[in-house]
Symmetry: C2
Subunit: 405 residues, 2 copies
């Protein structure tokens, strides 16, 4: 049969769907990822816990005592995951991830609540996106729930020590990572991979002095494109963006506001989602952000939570709109005095008030609250979400980590 006799299909979309629908397998098939098989080896060399300031002052990100690893091979599937001392990885120089960017990751935070409890925020959403990213970059998939269980297992061990109960309001960062470890240099889907989860310190980024300042993307540089992979949390979205970010920082800005297409649609602010609060021409107050349907931008968990909580709590007061909108619309609204607030939202930056947007020689000076505080809406969203994260509000989005006493 000639290859062309095969029915034409949409290769990509169908493949993602096929891959993400894999769950458990019969006994003689490759094994699914199974958190219940976790093998625990505690460190014999526990480290001291630095202060937040000490931890963030160094050249290397400080991690907790342990990490989780799980290896996968094409034939056998997932081996039993391990919880073990944090330490370097040994990789073949030929490893797929070092050449072909077969890698994806997630980012979450774990919060020490004011009620003494340890929480993570909507981990199911990150785990689902993790699987989608894995499929997109030709890495093995897994049941998202197993990743949530593994994160919880790691936090149960390291949480009590590294986020002690006497420090409510503090947090650590969780980084699940999946890399292709295949030592075969041919350009092909990896036949071996490793998932690992680590818990790290991360600087507070949500209150830069004077607010976040954005520079629109250079005309000759595009972050993501229709038909690409901007919606997936794969390494390939980050490295290529660093040059523009680096240059913007040298010029006094924090992040790039990535524009797309001939109309300069606003997409993302750095690696965060971008929101504007403005008065529409019809006088209505609106919270606007780019839509997900072109698959250009990341389906951020914080983004989704902002939209959902504003739709719930400010219904009737503030319209919530996901649509394409251009930098020219922002400039026009600014000229007409209709810009009320703007913010970036993501796990790293949380909900971060934007004070300035620079575009081709023009500045939009975005209003903030008094004394450089976030504006009213930004502050409300930040407070509502923060209260869930830190246990001031009991909410299903805040998942409590069981701790060994």
């Amino acid at each position: 049969m000639a290859p062309s006799a095969v029915q034409d299909v949409d290769l990509t979309a169908s493949a993602v769907q096929r891959k993400t629908s894999i769950s458990t397998a019969p006994d003689d098939s490759p094994k699914a990822l199974d958190a219940s098989q976790l093998i625990t080896t505690l460190t014999s060399n526990p480290r001291g816990v630095p202060t937040e300031q000490e931890a963030n002052a160094g050249l290397e990100t400080v991690c907790t005592d342990h990490m989780i690893t799980a290896t996968w091979t094409l034939g056998k599937g997932w081996a039993a995951p391990e919880l073990k001392p944090y330490g370097p990885l040994s990789l073949l120089p030929t490893a797929s991830c070092l050449h072909y960017a077969t890698e994806c990751f997630e980012g979450l935070k774990v919060y020490r609540g004011y009620d003494g409890k340890l929480r993570i925020f909507r981990p199911d959403r990150n785990a689902q996106r993790f699987r989608m990213s894995a499929a997109r970059i030709s890495l093995p998939v897994f049941e998202p729930e197993e990743v949530v269980k593994l994160m919880i297992a790691l936090l149960s061990v390291d949480g009590p020590k590294w986020l002690p109960k006497d420090k409510p309001g503090s947090y650590l960062y969780i980084r699940p990572t999946l890399i292709g470890t295949d030592g075969q240099l041919g350009v092909q889907a990896p036949k071996a991979a490793m998932m690992y989860i680590m818990v790290t310190f991360m600087p507070r980024l949500d209150t830069p002095e004077g607010g976040l300042r954005l520079h629109t993307s250079p005309e000759d540089m595009v972050r993501a494109w229709v038909g690409g992979f901007g919606y997936a949390k794969v390494g390939a979205n980050y490295g290529p963006s660093l040059m523009a970010t680096h240059d913007a920082r040298q010029r006094g800005f924090h992040q790039i506001l990535w524009l797309y297409g001939p109309n300069g649609e606003c997409t993302e602010a750095g690696a965060s989602n971008f929101f504007v609060v403005w008065k529409r021409k019809d006088g209505k107050k609106e919270l606007i952000t780019a839509p997900l349907d072109d698959k250009l931008i990341l389906d951020g968990v914080t983004r989704r939570s902002c939209l959902e909580i504003v739709r719930e709590k400010l219904a009737g007061e503030l319209e919530v709109t996901e649509r394409k909108y251009s930098i020219d619309e922002v400039l026009e609204a600014d000229a007409e005095g209709r810009i009320l607030e703007a913010f970036a939202a993501g796990t790293a930056y949380f909900v971060c008030a934007i004070s300035q947007i620079h575009h081709r020689g023009q500045d939009v000076n975005v209003p903030m609250g008094p004394e450089g505080a976030p504006g009213e809406i930004t502050n409300k969203v930040k407070t509502w979400l923060g209260d869930i994260m830190y246990g001031r509000t009991q909410h299903e989005w805040g998942v409590v980590i069981p701790e060994k006493e």
Copy 2:
């Protein structure tokens, strides 16, 4: 001074130019990469040399006894490079390259000539592209000539044993790689990096049975885009393409013919450049390939060499054209019986005759030579270049490696 008072510049293009113009530095500045500082530690555990068949049968790519590594940090620049036993790399789980695809590479071959000499082909071009890729992905730059010297140093040591004189016509593959090793998880240009060079076996890919069969890219998937990084040999171009390639292979094709834009411009064939030989409507014979000016495609060394040698040797007989051309033009030429040959060109596939192109339910059956051999032009190009590589033709493109007797 407000940041916006700074003169607007084209951030990207200027940054690449600035970075790639760095050469040596004064004594108190970060050190430039310097091959003359090479520290050599030979293996005490030399391995046996497998046959080509044995080497390519395993799950892992087989490398030679040694590798070269060179580390870089932002403050100090490049440390003295080392030639040392090939072995695994130890990387922090937080290493930049494992999360943000801060990685780029090159691919060359080393050939054992029929005149007994060892040669590499136009290594200066690969080294220059390596530097450009490094700059694009925010990794440190270097003088390309130093990378050439390092490759030659490694081949001088491993070449005589791994490509013995009694096996003329054999080759090995050279993979210079540069990765961001920075253990700081923040999304930023790496402050630490490592270059490494290894020499490996690689299967012969230039004569697939029945010729190379291509499947055009799925409608919802684009390899590279204007404003992106398709022209740079960065990992981020490869991982995202694997899913489409994998699916195409499962349907009996070897590679994807990547189309671009609403007109379906032909760009690359897998990770190789794509060429068509056809009769134009005016009756002239033409060799056509996609142009470099949009920065969509890789400036292939084999591509460039094909164009140059055809322009030199077939002047007047075969017009050489670099311009955008669409899959519809190919289909039309096929319908009118004007397609003469097609081939893919790159280091891995060398010059590889294409027999079929499948596009949305339609097949272009490309003529080949008798008994599945390459067509006339493809064969000529392959022979001319091969003769330079294997020392049958003395040419400046073939750089002889000095060997220790």
